[in-house]
Symmetry: C2
Subunit: 388 residues, 2 copies
Amino acid sequence: MERVPIAGVGMTKFGKQGQRTSRELFGEAAGKAFEDAGLSPDDVDEVFFGNFMGELAEQQGHSGPLAADAAGVTAPATRIESACASSGAAVRHGVNRIRNGDVDVVLVGGAERMTNLSTAEGTAGLAAAADALWEIKSGITFPGAYSLMANRYFHEHGGSREDLAEIAVKNHEHAVENELAQFQRAITVEDVVEAPTVCSPFGLYDCSPMSDGGSAALLVSEEFAEDHGLGPEVAITGTGQNGDRLALQDRVSMTRTPAAERAAEQAYEDAGIGPDDIDVAEVHDCFTIAEALALEALGLYEEGEAIHAATNGETSAGGELPVNLSGGLKAKGHPVGATGGAQISELTKILRGDHVNSDAVSDAEVGITHNAGGTVASCVVNVLEVIA
Amino acid sequence: MERVPIAGVGMTKFGKQGQRTSRELFGEAAGKAFEDAGLSPDDVDEVFFGNFMGELAEQQGHSGPLAADAAGVTAPATRIESACASSGAAVRHGVNRIRNGDVDVVLVGGAERMTNLSTAEGTAGLAAAADALWEIKSGITFPGAYSLMANRYFHEHGGSREDLAEIAVKNHEHAVENELAQFQRAITVEDVVEAPTVCSPFGLYDCSPMSDGGSAALLVSEEFAEDHGLGPEVAITGTGQNGDRLALQDRVSMTRTPAAERAAEQAYEDAGIGPDDIDVAEVHDCFTIAEALALEALGLYEEGEAIHAATNGETSAGGELPVNLSGGLKAKGHPVGATGGAQISELTKILRGDHVNSDAVSDAEVGITHNAGGTVASCVVNVLEVIA
């Protein structure tokens, strides 16, 4: 279907800034996006804002109009909550809104404030993305749920503790020069393997951190871009979303993520491309195993093979298909509601050539984002292409 | 723009059923909508689910896929949170999704579980729809905020305690025969005026209750309706949404609701009609004063005049412009996330002629819904028209 140019993007630095509210974080990200696009808040026709745990972290729901207000915008504004896929979904709904043909500029993105909570409070808050009746009641948290998936993956397909570690090492390496990333430092496989255990097989470095941050993108119609001489270099050409049973116990498989498979299929069809066309990817590596599951669901690797991708150097900056050049959730940080929008912000810059890691994929024409909620009970996939 | 037929609607009884989860409530409502439409879950291409306080009441976020699952649907599913306007917004996004042209059936609606909480917990939860930094910190709750608006309205425009009471009396009267309503009993002006004070000028009967319930509607493309011989009698022909500063203190006026005015303007323009065309309305009477504010924002009454509408009998079943024939939030109940969808469900039946109060408007061709979040910091307006 119709491609939707990305006129501008912006994100805050991700990291510990728990004294700042979500609205403030989104306001900063939106301000950067306006500057990047050369547009003003008055140009915006609609806002989709992703936020997950505002009620728990800030006593704040109803954050659509609040986010719009922080960005200086008066327009229809809706808060989208799809757990960790909240702002990926916001982006998709913004794309569809532009495609309606009656609006020209949509501000999308998200924000999350998390580090004002204790780790226990934050972990309990995140658990609201799982099935309260079955999973939360049995005491499972997300490190636990994903470790079940990792162990089952090992059982079915092989792969090693070190293979997981290589994913974290790669993503930390990518973040070293990225000033917006939470962790700008390299780590070794030894660091990962010897780190304190969170939930076997995961140690501390297999888990994305608690983070605060905001992200934003300005989506425009092609007509508007042309009329205003914006010259956007990248557009969203395909978008997909799908869901699954919320509880891991209700799934057909512990090692496949059909919500992501269906979202990817939809996005590829929408863009008129296939997995072979992808040059670069930003995927939802909330835990190391999640990156492998994502690459398989996107059809970039066969089932059971993505676990070796980082070990083989295929997904690093120098590899055939660089994955998470931003540092991913692991090293860039994971302020839940901002993550999907941040993938768009970073991938847009990577494709435009103005990201610190753009050189790793200087000929890249097509990129993909994969943003998952819960144990991939929801997933949004967006395809981005260079158009200028 | 393109009209979007309503193939089927359904809602649970509203009231105290706090032992039931939101997912269960939505599943029941969706089941009724499928039966009403003659469609099955497999027909659904996308889901928009409104829910406000799931995190606080049920430890449950990420409820889009959960709601889809409860309805038996595997499809993209997004939870929309816009405080008390959550499912009104879900309906609007569903309408826009159909208008994209690439999907044919969208399930919209919402659910809320509230009465499992104590009144204090519920009131604190509802306060998350206000500005946490300014309003919640200063101790204001929604009865307090709306009472400020009511007192200012009296100061600017006149109107009396009894005029407010007449609004509650009318809506209770409308609910007497409505088996889905929480309060099926008539009250008198004396009952309202002599009820315990909640926050002056409001007594107990000026306030909508805590309720549990679910609502659903199946929106379809005209093509799909025709191809499947559905023969829907009512369609959404116009939709609008807008926002405002969240905190009452930041508004231009305490007695006007510009978010609703802008949403109405957008919906009227979209439908190609004006206020004079409206035969019947379902508006957001979370407190008695809110009904008057709604009627003025919709352009159905001049500023300062809607306060007398119920007193004059103009908005009752026998009046010129019946308002809240369902019983409204006041008497039908107000399970927050379900309310906007319930307005669609009830108004569709009223217009089709199969609602217990349809006889009051037997010639009605055009209806309007007004669903507000917070102190109308967000508002969604939908126009429904008889098409067969």
